[in-house]
Symmetry: C2
């Protein structure tokens, strides 16, 4: 059994902050350490008693049983490299990045023997960012994807799973490859489409006068962090380009239905979407 009594969280943004709050308030770990490059955020988290110990130095992870890396995707490999000397035997390192293949391919190069990396991705958060928007109930009933390697010991997966279920999330286990494809479709493609439509809207006179609730719902995700999204697109390039191509084919089929005035076909297109969407919530 892997005992988790000492958790470190690197990056106290909306996700890292919410993890700290959820873990501390639910008493899931004897000690919670928070590390952030912004000293003010560390101080705030300490004041709010969301962490037991705070630091701006990565070496503070020393002695941790479980470490969450909650930074931009592109920074994760560098952080793995830097914390590597401080990792103890049987410690688990996980991240919360939106893409998994790139990070997991590199994690093996940096981690010392006896320490384990397991990819993680909570399908939670909001269009906001920063510690200010973190909430202890952020993960409640939300999917939290875990992507182990083929040879990750079962005890390691179980230990991480216990913590994730402890914060109220629904654990979903899949390979990093499957993760990047399905998340590409349900998260990255919507982000791209909503942003492309917003940019288009911006350039057409009169649009801003007719915006209703539907548009606001559809484009809510557009307010999220551009730097984060740049990292996601670049680290999931292959899947995103493939998904965009496949989506284009689907749109071409619809365009043909419109062109030929195929009432039945168009109705089916919308009916099919509605029946699936209604099953979701």
């Amino acid at each position: 059994m892997v005992r988790i009594e000492n958790i470190s969280i690197i990056g106290l943004g909306i996700i890292g902050g919410s993890l700290a709050k959820a873990i501390t308030k639910r008493g899931l770990s004897k000690k919670v350490t928070g590390i952030d490059i912004d000293e003010k955020i560390v101080k705030k988290a300490l004041e709010e008693k969301v962490i037991d110990r705070g630091s701006i130095n990565l070496e503070t992870v020393k002695g941790s049983d479980l470490i969450f890396i909650c930074t931009y995707v592109m920074n994760i490999p560098k952080i793995l490299q830097e914390i590597s000397p401080y990792l103890k035997q049987n410690s688990i390192v996980t991240d919360v990045g939106s893409t998994k293949e790139m990070v997991m391919a590199r994690a093996r190069d940096f981690l010392p023997k006896g320490a384990y990396f397991v990819g993680g991705h909570p399908m939670a958060g909001s269009e906001q960012s920063g510690f200010l928007f973190s909430r202890q109930d952020m993960f409640d009933k939300m999917p939290y994807i875990i992507t182990p390697y083929n040879d990750t010991p079962k005890v390691v997966i179980e230990a991480l799973k216990d913590i994730i279920e402890g914060i109220g999330a629904k654990v979903v286990i899949m390979s990093p490859e499957q993760h990047d494809y399905v998340v590409g479709l349900v998260s990255h493609i919507p982000q791209i489409m909503a942003s492309a439509i917003v940019n288009f809207t911006k350039e057409v006179e009169g649009c801003d006068r007719v915006i209703g609730k539907g548009y606001l719902d559809f484009t809510r995700i557009v307010s999220s962090n551009p730097r984060m999204w740049k990292d996601i697109l670049l680290s999931n390039k292959g899947n995103i380009l493939e998904l965009l191509a496949r989506l284009r084919n689907r749109l071409e089929t619809l365009e043909e239905l419109i062109e030929t005035g195929d009432e039945q076909g168009i109705k089916e297109f919308f009916c099919k979407a509605r029946s699936y969407r209604e099953g979701l919530q």
Copy 2:
């Protein structure tokens, strides 16, 4: 001056029902008549005192100063033709359809001399449909587009505008051509994209396990009435095909940025969208 003391509403769905509630509860008309093909709905509206008089016959519009047609877009011309014999001098007929050019081109053929048609489109409603979901505050602070003809008398526009402002909406006046283009972009294209992505999601295994709040927001509009959307696509065919083509060009530009790994370009794409979106709400 055109006096509005007698309003008829044809079609007591979510929009017609909300109009009846808003007009009656705010006392904007001496008499409100509700007409629907479903007798049960008419009875319900009468019981709820949302209308003063109810009927399943179109000729009940007789004597109305203002008539709202709140049916599927494709049915509007037929209804215009059928109510035409009962229209009195200086009466105003308007609709709430999501496309305007097609209806307005045909309205002239059917309306008797001395009666006026002015297109209307409240950017309100929700993904639900039916009288059950109608609300008296549905139009509060929402844009309500009015599309007059070039020669529509100013008094006619003002009389309609008074009622629309009376129910709490923000009146936006534009030509039917501009309406169909800008609404095509802010409403029809999002509906198509969200539906296409939902249909795609449905076919990729594992997607349903990783759906989070962002996807649910982005696809909320997909639950709305397929029959209504079929009518919208067919009656705004030209604009929708053009907008889809232009959107495709924009996506190709983004794909190039991803392909070449242009970090700055990708970041700008998301930054630009975020800054516009944040200005909206």
